[in-house]
């Protein structure tokens, strides 16, 4: 979504804003980070990265974002008396980067990643066409993301954002420390298995 869409279709925009009410969803979730910071940290190499940049072991920027979203959602579920045992189907809009996301999160169905799958309350992840039958719900998500970005840029809340935030919405920003910790934490996952989920051969 951009300023032009918002101005070009004001009635649709307001209708979608009106759909987001506390009783209509369980909660909103939002994760952010600066791509420039992520890029710089993902390019780092060390003796632990097997000669590859850190990002090689975690995937691209969109894979990171979807992982951060699963972590935020799971953390919230773990604290929820009502929903702590629930599994989640994660549904994202089609992206040019979805192949990279599939490479990483597809591994969660492998037996050796059962613990990580459980930690993420993960049952599946899917990419869908934002212009298809699920377009409205994805546009609601887009409107939340766009308004939260707008407040960061302009430092003032829009009436629309005030309305959206009547619904409980949980926000987590990944600064340099969180990005670095997450990327290094990912290395632990690859300590025993390669990117295809196969165990490394023992050094002789």
């Amino acid at each position: 979504m951009n300023e032009a869409h918002h101005l070009k279709h004001p009635a649709v925009y307001q209708e979608l804003i009106g759909l987001i009410r506390p009783e209509a969803v369980i909660c909103g979730l939002s994760v952010t980070r600066y791509l420039k910071e992520h890029k710089k940290l993902a390019e780092a190499r060390s003796e632990y990265t097997r000669g590859q940049p850190l990002g090689y072991w975690f995937g691209g920027a969109y894979t990171y974002a979807t992982g951060a979203m699963m972590a935020l959602c799971s953390g919230w579920l773990n604290k929820s008396p009502l929903y702590c045992d629930e599994q989640v189907a994660y549904i994202f809009e089609n992206s040019p980067h979805q192949g990279n996301v599939n490479t990483f999160w597809g591994l969660l169905d492998r037996p050796q990643y059962a613990d990580r799958k459980q930690q993420n309350h993960y049952i599946s992840h899917t990419f869908v066409d934002g212009k298809g039958p699920l377009g409205s719900v994805l546009q609601m998500c887009d409107i939340l993301a766009w308004n939260l970005n707008k407040i960061q840029r302009e430092k003032s809340k829009t009436p629309e954002l005030n309305s959206l935030l009547l619904t409980p919405t949980f926000y987590y920003h990944h600064g340099p420390k969180e990005i670095s910790d997450t990327l290094h934490g990912a290395l632990d996952c690859w300590e025993q298995f390669d990117k295809k989920g196969n165990p490394y051969l023992e050094d002789k």
Binding site: C27, V31, L35, M69, A89
Partner: protein, 33 residues
């Protein structure tokens, strides 16, 4: 089973990437239609 729908927005001026979504039950999803 719950469903989490999410979409991204990137602010090209600041490089801030925001992925936002809504967690809902199947019943809530159907009611949105």
């Amino acid at each position: 089973m719950l469903k989490l729908y999410a979409d991204e927005s990137v602010d090209n001026d600041t490089s801030l990437m925001n992925l936002s979504g809504y967690l809902m039950t199947e019943g809530q999803f159907i009611a949105l239609d």
